[in-house]
Subunit: 709 residues, 2 copies
């Protein structure tokens, strides 16, 4: 929605030092249109000028209406008026989701022996405090003091300025198209844009503010509202200064209300907390990955963009744990090194370019574009996954985070972005998060979230060791004994050396021990020995680094629907009919069974073919309604059903059937066995329609409806 | 945990008039041990005397420790101290869950063309207010005024009385076993039971209270606490009177905090609200079913019983919509009519019996034991599903709800109960909920949650119709016009007849119209005509009835683990080793690949077999650790892996492999192709091990470890 160049023009002013918690970023929420070249600014339009699979102009409202009519999705609780940002998947959407998740499991979890876990969404506050979400996972919102309207501060500023710019254009006689993507907003009686001409300098100021709208903090947004006298059109009143709003849903756990809890905003934390057990399950072998597929929750201030920014959504996250030493190699990198990706790296973004060529991931890792093999391996695997489910390869790119867009601890981060009518949408994040997460939880809880590895060759360490004479030490310090002992144990090596010197020269040492006496404690040489000694280490202990591919399944599904959608002109001059060209592997249903009519003689064959397909593991649906064959096929083209079997009077006589291809509408005819074999090979991806067309006789047009005998 | 007879002894006092919301019932939470014959009372023990699959005494702590060690499940957030009632599934538990859900989809959703939807867990309060959950989905809790402890009132009464009875037994010199099922409770320093002898009459009073503990309301529990001077052992203070605690997690939606919301306590409501759209999706054809698989949430006051009573859990619910007229027939009932079920009906329960014989569902429906075919169909299908996933058929029964246990609108209700060491556990509820849910939502929202069916033969209806002279009516009543008109339209048929008489005799009628004048309105005959006329109806409108099979997936999984568990004595005199005899179809992993040793020559074969199995769609895992073959197999017996392939030096030479059966530990040996075919037939359920043993040569003992050449 905001096709502005953030980085080329504003790189110096970026505030995102903690992007994991910036509600804007995906691992927080969306960052719609993170990057567009400067030229794009002037073509700003809420519906991006994209084209369908067949190169037709893309019409979002038409697709959207079709998706709702076919119940791919529907606003939740619509009979109660609905709730913004909550959607239900209807039968085809739900089946599509199940198939994508199933493929995710096969492609990632089973293929790589990942350890899948199912962690709870309910999360105690303490965990999310440690992870940083309680403090940082927030957006800026401002409130209208008159009617209590709550608006996301950046959205508010953006809308006011856009509206003024539009008024300016109208005053200058430039034609402006109406936004059509948010029917709800239209219903609100927002004051119509006034056609007021602005100074050229003001226009430029506004455009510059819009260009860096993502980068203002609350105070700055408040200053902009004041400076440009922005008022809520609904009340004519200036909103109150922006305040931070944490995007997590909070809900106390248990009856006392004392245990603060949240719904998780991501599945990652549950995986990190199970690290030690998972390592144990994996028999202490490194590297390994865990995975979790489940719902996450973000209490968006004002959800827009349909299925792309919702309050409850399905995520699939992988946490791959790798030894930080040795360059983060991956033992299967060789298998993917020739996979070619569109990589939009930092330098290209800084140079204001977007046109990038595909490059083999092997080369990108070798030349340092991608930080390491493991990260590169996952980028390639993500690419292959998206390709497999039917994402348009020309609308996929991997965009590298800018240095100041990443968390300080992150080594590298790439987003798989998919191009849609909303712009480039981040659908998968793939970050090298270093040892951050395990470290903070270990520090907070004292749990050993580390790997202990037996060294092939023991190493000898020379160090200053301290021995206390416990028998005398306790009685000497009495109740402070443990505190003093702990302070002694905690003395760092460099200090020990100096103290050893003191002990030798003065016969005693003085150390700082908080809470004991005046904070200084003397220990005489009869109680303590400090010596340099050699120690042999057989194990090495380290906190693994985490490579985290994080998938927004709902976003991927929405993009998939845009990418596979096209229309075909009707023969009869009706409206263009919609088609969703899902690959068979993810299509909600694989085969439509249509009898030529409701004639009784077709019923046994329908049932027979249904059972046959089920026994092959191929999902099918019957449409024996009285609508014409054409209408029934049209309906299933909209549902994305790739294949159709027609049962006609000839089928009753000779047990042959026609098989129809959704995309070409071509038909072939053959006996049952041949048709079933063809279907199985198509559904399993062994063959494509062109193969079938070559092998089997083409069938032209269904016979007329003549009953048998 | 409370093996008491609720119905035989207390049927007259039952309070449950609205059991859907009674937190005790499953559709609310658990009803552990709903029914046991009176005799059982005296054998009360928290761990029921059950046996394993092989008839061995069942030892819950041993199984539990194995399940945690193998990470079937683990307490969530354990490194932060854990949260009661929240558990994560580790890799084998998660895979088991995925397989059970997958089978649920195949067995129910695909088999019956159900319309699966994925609705949000976040739910606006208004929806749950209408459904009754806001007012009724509660438990009684009481608070200790001294330390703030919150206890479930019935649990508190129960524990105090049990403790006193135990003290009495000790005083009488009867040996009492310690409860072992709740390690947490042990840690709390509850005052040890005092050995105080009670009067025989008091003992009887206590036992009678315990027998009907499920049936007291808050006030009655409060009276019991007062009467018997029950004090919290932790403080010695009597708790405050019980107050109702709603078990739903609440969380406001959106930034203003004005939209009250809850996490759904069941998935049903989302399905009901989509009824009209689903009917449309189904092309207006009845009957049909929707289904939803997803997490639900219940804020239990004090969760006990491990995985059986948790705060976040996976449900799978089916809402089958059926025409209430015509006896609720099911067109596939014929297919299941001979399935035999253990049916514990109302009468048997009232007679205090539990020993019931299997009866064919066809007979049970015919003789009226089960209310109708559709309900009977689903009971049989539930039975077949549980059988398929490996539930012990001798530990499964269907228990009918007592008349006063059901909601007033329910026609019939049966629970599939599974026997475990916690007693009989309700795992699937199957209720005929009549038209209740659709009716209340339609009434609240005005949405037409009805079916309109074209009548085969139009019917003629004779009725009293009213015509208003709109031209005069409006001006006459002015601002009250619409209100009066609505009141007239709403007049029922019997009233219309009388009014027609009045109009004829007096030239005017007087009707009640709330809010207009003094509430009485006169309408003269120049404004109104009331006549008996004939009307032809072409369509029939009705609210469908709902048959609702509701599955607690987590409970089923726990019971499955108890049912498939057994131990086998070790040869070497070690401890007995655990086995989970999951059927291959649900087993977390199907095949274990073990090389005889870590010798390099095995590696290519391991990889080859892994890939082969994957291409067959069979999940496998490799264990190439240095542990002995026996240890590695033991580990996988505990994980429930049904098959094992050993790769030894002979394999390297002649490409033959041994295949091991988990349950018998027998092995056969054959070439790759034969072994793979055998595995596929076992995993797909076409063959059982006995078949394979007959077909392939037995293999005795692995060779010693001699490298090739």
């Amino acid at each position: 929605m905001r096709p502005f160049c953030r980085f080329a023009r504003t790189a110096g002013h970026l505030q995102n030092t903690f992007p994991r918690y910036k509600a804007r970023s995906f691992t927080a929420t969306t960052q719609v249109n993170k990057y567009q070249p400067p030229k794009f600014q002037k073509q700003k339009d809420p519906i991006m000028a994209t084209t369908t699979l067949k190169g037709q102009p893309f019409d979002r409202p038409v697709l959207d209406s079709m998706l709702r009519r076919r119940m791919f999705y529907t606003p939740s609780f619509e009979v109660y008026g609905g709730v913004a940002g909550l959607y239900d998947y209807g039968p085809p959407g739900c089946a599509l989701q199940t198939n994508v998740v199933d493929l995710f499991r096969k492609h990632f979890v089973l293929e790589e022996d990942m350890l899948e876990v199912d962690c709870t969404a309910l999360t105690p506050a303490e965990v999310l405090k440690t992870s940083g979400h309680v403090d940082k996972f927030a957006d800026w919102m401002c409130k209208d003091p008159k009617n209590g309207d709550i608006m996301r501060a950046d959205h508010f500023v953006e809308e006011i300025l856009e509206s003024r710019l539009k008024g300016d254009k109208e005053a200058r006689g430039v034609k402006v198209e109406e936004k059509e993507d948010d029917p709800k907003k239209k219903k609100k009686k927002v004051k119509a844009t006034e056609a007021v001409k602005l100074d050229d300098a003001v226009v430029q100021e506004y455009e510059e503010i819009l260009a860096r709208i993502d980068n203002y903090n609350g105070e700055e947004l408040g200053q902009l509202i004041k400076k440009y006298e922005m008022k809520n059109p609904a009340t004519g009143v200036e909103p109150l200064p922006p305040v931070e709003f944490n995007l997590m849903f909070n809900t106390p756990i248990g009856p006392s209300g004392n245990l603060a809890g949240y719904l998780r905003p991501e599945t990652a934390q549950g995986q990190f907390l199970n690290f030690a057990k998972l390592l144990d399950f994996n028999q202490q072998q490194m590297p390994f990955a865990s995975a979790c597929i489940g719902k996450s929750y973000r209490n968006e201030i004002s959800p827009r963009s349909g299925l792309l920014r919702v309050r409850e959504f399905l995520m699939a996250e992988i946490e791959h744990y790798v030894d930080p030493h040795g360059g983060k190699k991956h033992h299967r990198f060789e298998e993917v090194k020739d996979v070619e990706l569109v990589l939009l790296n930092r330098h290209t973004q800084l140079a204001g370019q977007t046109h990038v060529k595909k490059v083999a991931i092997g080369k990108a890792v070798a030349d340092g574009t991608v930080d390491n093999e493991t990260l590169g391996y996952f980028l390639a695997r993500i690419h292959l996954f998206l390709e497999k489910i039917g994402i348009d390869q020309t609308k996929l790119r991997f965009r590298q985070h800018m240095a100041n867009e990443m968390a300080h601890y992150a080594a590298d981060c790439w987003d798989a972005e998919l191009q849609t009518s909303y712009g480039w949408i981040e659908c998968v994040g793939c970050a090298d998060r270093s040892a951050y997460d395990l470290t903070v939880h270990a520090k907070k809880t004292g749990a050993p979230l580390v790997v202990r590895e037996r060294l092939a060759e023991p190493i000898t360490v020379e160090e200053w060791q301290i021995d206390l004479d416990k028998k005398k030490f306790g009685p000497h310090f009495k109740k402070d004994g443990k505190t003093v002992e702990a302070a002694v144990e905690a003395l760092p090596q460099e200090k020990r050396e100096a103290l050893a010197q003191d002990l030798k020269l003065e016969g005693k040492i003085t150390i700082d021990v908080e809470g004991v006496g005046n904070g200084k404690v003397e220990i005489s040489k009869d109680l303590i020995v400090i010596e340099r000694r050699k120690r042999v280490e057989n194990t090495r202990e380290f906190t693994p680094n985490v490579i985290e591919p994080s998938f927004g399944i709902g976003r991927i599904i929405y993009c998939l629907m845009e990418h596979t959608y096209w229309t075909r002109g009707s023969d009869g001059g009706d409206e263009a009919r919609g088609v969703l060209s899902f690959p068979p592997i993810v299509a909600p249903s694989k085969v439509l069974l249509v009898p030529l009519s409701t004639h009784e003689s077709f019923k046994p064959l329908l049932r027979h073919m249904s059972l046959k397909l089920r026994s092959l593991g191929v999902s099918s649906r019957v449409d024996d309604s009285s609508a014409s064959i054409g209408k029934r096929y049209s309906r299933n083209d909209e549902l994305g059903t790739p294949l159709g079997i027609t049962i006609d009077f000839q089928s009753v006589q000779d047990k042959t059937y026609t098989l129809r291809d959704r995309d070409s509408t071509k038909q072939v005819r053959a006996d049952e066995e041949t048709i079933l074999t063809a279907i199985k090979s198509l559904v399993e991806g062994e063959k494509v329609w062109a193969d079938i067309e070559k092998e089997l006789p083409t069938f032209e047009g269904q016979e007329v409806e003549v009953p048998v005998r």
